[in-house]
């Protein structure tokens, strides 16, 4: 597949890696956060860190949609599914996220009907096929995924499908980045900006990061060379004394994003005053709820939701991992009590979670693909 080889070419990787090393000031330590879990996955899968000088440290950020779901919201989903006649639908990784009362998979073993779907449109189809059941879509994800939920609500309305509703947990990336920058725990030098989120929101919403905090941000693609090139672009900004928002992924991301998707989002959703993020706590204006004019599709209004806050298990250090303060292997239960098969925390569930990515491709790696192997 030529189209992929182009972005995994080992010679190009070496060239980039040499040029990055030349731009490094030897006595300076650089902390660059990749916000998006997809990037974390690529970094571990291909050992991108091995191609960087020791004083450039890649720090993993909060951009894994599954990882940031607090336990209480999992319990709320189970409470909905336990109602008579309800089919709850969700994306695959969500099935295994532990809540205070176990995961969706465990709830199914007790008799609920929670089904995995690939798209909210599949949930809508299930509603169409089961007119005598209530079908609820458990929506998670950043701005990449929120438009598909919004579009599904618009289609439900257009088709007059009334037995469909959405339990909305969509979150927005900018307030999470702000929370990290405001937190005293971590000093960062630059950001690798999310690729697919930026397809929707564009690059403009990040400009305050450069302007107010003086930090470079480069939106990056998901191939190993994309990441190396983004680090190169960041280092170049340092040496030239610039702090700007740049777009490495211009083959996909346009600087202004997708205006139609943004309009649909603004139409169907409203900002929540607050939303609790796992590990990061409550963040103002960081999540979406179904807008009042689409209230009939809001599962939080259709069903009684317990809405209890459930504290994370004591052993769990996901919060520190999500903020980039701890590396996955520094968590006390990593790889012992907490593994992808028996996750304690969310970061071990989704393959984009830093813990699962490191567990699967880090020192435990049976299948890490290095750029050399690919040659």
């Amino acid at each position: 597949m030529k189209f992929v080889d182009e972005f995994r070419n080992p010679e190009l990787a070496q060239v980039l890696s040499r040029e990055i090393a030349q731009l490094c000031e030897p006595n300076r330590h650089y902390k660059i956060m990749e916000v998006c879990g997809g990037h974390t996955h690529t970094i571990y899968r291909y050992g991108v860190q091995d191609h960087l000088p020791e004083n450039i440290e890649l720090v993993h950020g909060p951009g894994c949609p599954v990882c940031v779901i607090p336990m209480g919201r999992v319990d709320d989903g189970i409470a909905i599914a336990e109602r008579d006649n309800v089919i709850l639908t969700c994306f695959g990784d969500m099935m295994r996220v532990p809540g205070g009362r176990g995961s969706f998979l465990e709830a199914n073993a007790r008799g609920t009907d929670i089904r995995m779907v690939y798209s909210p449109l599949d949930a809508l189809r299930i509603a169409r096929d089961n007119p005598d059941r209530q079908v609820v879509f458990y929506a998670i994800g950043f701005e990449t995924t929120a438009p598909s939920t919004a579009l599904t609500i618009l289609r439900a309305e257009a088709e007059g499908i009334d037995n469909f509703s959405v339990f909305c947990n969509h979150v927005t990336i900018i307030p999470a980045i702000k929370a990290i920058l405001d937190s005293p725990d971590l000093r960062l030098d630059a950001f690798i900006g999310p690729g697919h989120v930026s397809t929707v929101i564009g690059c403009r919403p990040y400009e305050w990061i450069s302007r107010d905090f003086g930090l470079p941000l480069v939106c990056a693609g998901f191939e190993p060379l994309d990441l190396l090139q983004s680090v190169y672009m960041i280092m170049k900004q340092f040496t030239e004394g610039r702090a700007e928002v740049e777009n490495q992924y211009s083959r996909v991301v346009s600087y202004d994003g997708n205006p139609v998707a943004l309009k649909v989002l603004a139409n169907v959703f409203a900002l929540r005053p607050f939303f609790e993020w796992r590990g990061l706590g409550s963040i103002a204006h960081s999540a979406l709820q179904v807008a009042p004019k689409f209230a009939k599709y809001d599962a939080e209004l259709r069903f009684e939701i317990p809405g209890v806050r459930v504290a994370d298990p004591k052993a769990c250090q996901c919060g520190e991992v999500l903020k980039g303060v701890l590396k996955p292997w520094e968590c006390k239960v990593f790889g012992t009590a907490c593994t992808p098969e028996t996750p304690i925390g969310t970061c071990m569930v989704s393959s984009e979670g830093a813990c699962a990515a490191y567990y699967n491709f880090g020192q435990y790696a049976k299948q890490r693909l290095t750029l050399e192997v690919l040659s």
Binding site: G63, D93, Y118, F142, R155, V197, T199, V264, N360
Partner: protein, 83 residues
């Protein structure tokens, strides 16, 4: 039968590769034909899926789109790839 991309994506959901939707992964697909607001699309491996196109405007056979969760979220230039 043409392999179904959506089915493949659902089945691939495990601890190594994970759920592509949860992972914010988007895939580059080529439009085969258009039925109302939906388009039948194909990936590089010949797998097909039906995709909602309202967010990218009118598409026609041969167009390339970036797809996430069964919805096209952006148009791509002819040679571009997703990731």
């Amino acid at each position: 039968m043409t392999p179904d991309l959506r089915l493949a994506a659902t089945q691939a959901c495990d601890v190594t590769d994970g759920c592509i939707t949860c992972g914010d992964v988007a895939v580059a697909l080529t439009v085969l034909d258009v039925v109302g607001a939906d388009a039948r699309c194909r990936d590089e491996l010949g797998r097909e899926e039906t995709v909602a196109t309202e967010l990218v405007g009118t598409v026609q056979a041969g167009d390339r789109v970036l797809v996430h969760a069964g919805v096209a979220i952006e148009r791509l230039a002819a040679a571009a790839t997703g990731g």
